[in-house]
């Protein structure tokens, strides 16, 4: 995972270079209509991001998603749906974000951990075991 992360920035730059050389990034003549994002950016300095940053962040997060088993067909739409701030956060700290899984499947716990959680459930500090009645306090 670390190796992947180290590779992802240089790879992104390479991809970007290729895109630029293909000329697909020629900016269109600027639209006269000032976009809503520009108006919002005036209010919030942190919203001042560039298209370039978004493209780079996209590549980083894309590699994480693909590495975690997402289909090539769906990865682009998953990226599109994320805001610039969310993509930024994921590109920097992907592994730190929790993934909600649920709790009803096989828990491979050391015996001590199992007992610990049983006790904390009874004490009302955790909510792991459905068979432990969660009475009100």
């Amino acid at each position: 995972m670390d190796r992947l992360r180290k590779l992802s920035r240089p790879t992104s730059y390479l991809v970007l270079l290729c895109l630029l050389s293909l000329g697909s990034y020629v900016p269109a003549a600027r639209a006269a209509i000032v976009g809503t994002e520009s108006v919002a950016a005036e209010q919030d300095i942190e919203i001042q991001r560039g298209q370039l940053t978004r493209m780079l962040d996209n590549e980083v997060v894309k590699s994480y998603l693909l590495a975690n088993g997402v289909d090539r067909e769906t990865v682009q739409s998953r990226l599109d749906g994320l805001s610039d701030a969310e993509i930024r956060a994921l590109s920097e700290r992907f592994d730190e974000y929790p993934t909600g899984e649920g709790f009803e499947t096989v828990l491979i716990l050391a015996f001590l951990a199992f007992i610990a959680l049983l006790i904390t459930d009874i004490l009302g500090y955790t909510d792991i075991f459905p068979f432990v009645k969660k009475t009100t306090e």
Partner: protein
């Protein structure tokens, strides 16, 4: 140390930890909150989760509560990460946007969650059901509470009605950073929505090209916050991108009235008037924008030049529309 001793040490440490404070619950129970002391959104459907897929199940629940029927299986390809055997909270938001809804992260306060439930909005929450050193992350949906009994009611995992003490809820929720979100259909606002952050959330919908929904959401935002400039311009921009020039003109006029000190409203109004062939009026507003200046002054000057060039080309009627003033697709806004 023998096993029994180890268990005792752990148990006592955990007992102390279990007395960890729950300040938000204390505050809620102590003060007289406005609003109903107990609510249950019984109409919210239940989708039992399958292995590891509380994300899809929770999101289905939220969407179904608004009338959008989507089975959890159909969300798996959008929100499930096989390599992590779970779902990222951001991807739940992305999936909601791609379906034309506005996901909105709430303030990290228990009373905020209760207020939303009182307003008939279920709340999707991230919980760590385990311990800090052995987390068990989970998504569930809050559908009710009872303050006199001190409980929270959730659709959670395989339990349609998971009733837990408020304190327990707070502890599991606190470990996840008090993260909670609502998923709004375009025409409704969360009860606790903040003007700036909610309009930012609508901008994401516009960015994705969900223009009809964005326009509806901006209208709803303007009904609550008539002075919100992002909503005012956003409405005009969404209608413009949809090709609804009369609607866009009317929206920009409203924005210009509300914000006569902002060049952007006049600039965009000038553009749509030019598109509709009313070059003299367009020129007047374009000039006003340039006069007001500001950081986008250069853009306003470009607009004015283009309008003047058009006027020169056909002085009599001013009906000529040059290609680069045609309504632009929403993606182009990313250039601006």
């Amino acid at each position: 140390m023998c096993l029994l001793a180890r268990i005792c040490v752990v148990a006592s440490a955990l007992a102390l930890a279990a007395c960890a404070s729950t300040p938000q619950t204390d505050a809620v129970l102590a003060m007289q909150m406005d609003g109903a002391p107990s609510v249950e959104l019984t109409a919210v459907p239940f989708f039992p989760q399958t292995a590891y897929q509380c994300g899809p199940a929770a999101l289905s629940t939220m969407l179904a509560a608004t009338g959008e029927e989507v089975a959890p299986d159909d969300l798996v390809s959008q929100v499930y990460l096989p390599g992590r055997e779970g779902s990222l909270q951001f991807e739940l938001m992305a999936a909601a946007r791609l379906r034309g809804f506005v996901p909105y992260v709430l303030a990290p306060q228990l009373d905020t969650v209760l207020d939303e439930v009182r307003a008939d909005n279920p709340v999707l929450v991230l919980q760590n059901l385990g311990l800090d050193w052995h987390p068990q992350w989970h998504f569930a949906v809050v559908v009710g509470f009872d303050l006199s009994a001190g409980v929270m009611i959730l659709r959670s995992g395989e339990q349609a009605r998971h009733v837990i003490p408020l304190r327990l809820f707070e502890r599991t929720w606190e470990r996840g950073g008090h993260w909670a979100m609502v998923v709004m259909p375009p025409d409704r606002l969360p009860r606790t929505a903040q003007s700036r952050s909610y309009t930012r959330a609508i901008v994401e919908l516009e960015r994705l090209g969900r223009l009809r929904e964005a326009a509806t959401a901006y209208e709803a935002a303007l009904a609550r916050w008539p002075d919100n400039v992002v909503a005012g311009i956003g409405l005009g921009n969404s209608l413009y991108a949809l090709g609804d020039l009369p609607g866009a003109e009317s929206a920009y006029r409203r924005a210009a009235q509300r914000h006569p000190e902002r060049g952007v409203a006049f600039n965009n109004l000038a553009q749509v008037l030019a598109d509709r062939g009313r070059l003299r009026e367009a020129e007047e507003f374009a000039r006003r924008a340039v006069e007001l200046g500001g950081p986008m002054r250069e853009r306003f000057e470009e607009t004015l030049e283009r309008i003047l060039a058009n006027a020169r080309r056909s002085p009599a009627t001013g009906h000529l529309r040059s290609p680069d003033t045609a309504p632009v697709p929403a993606e182009t806004y990313r250039n601006t």
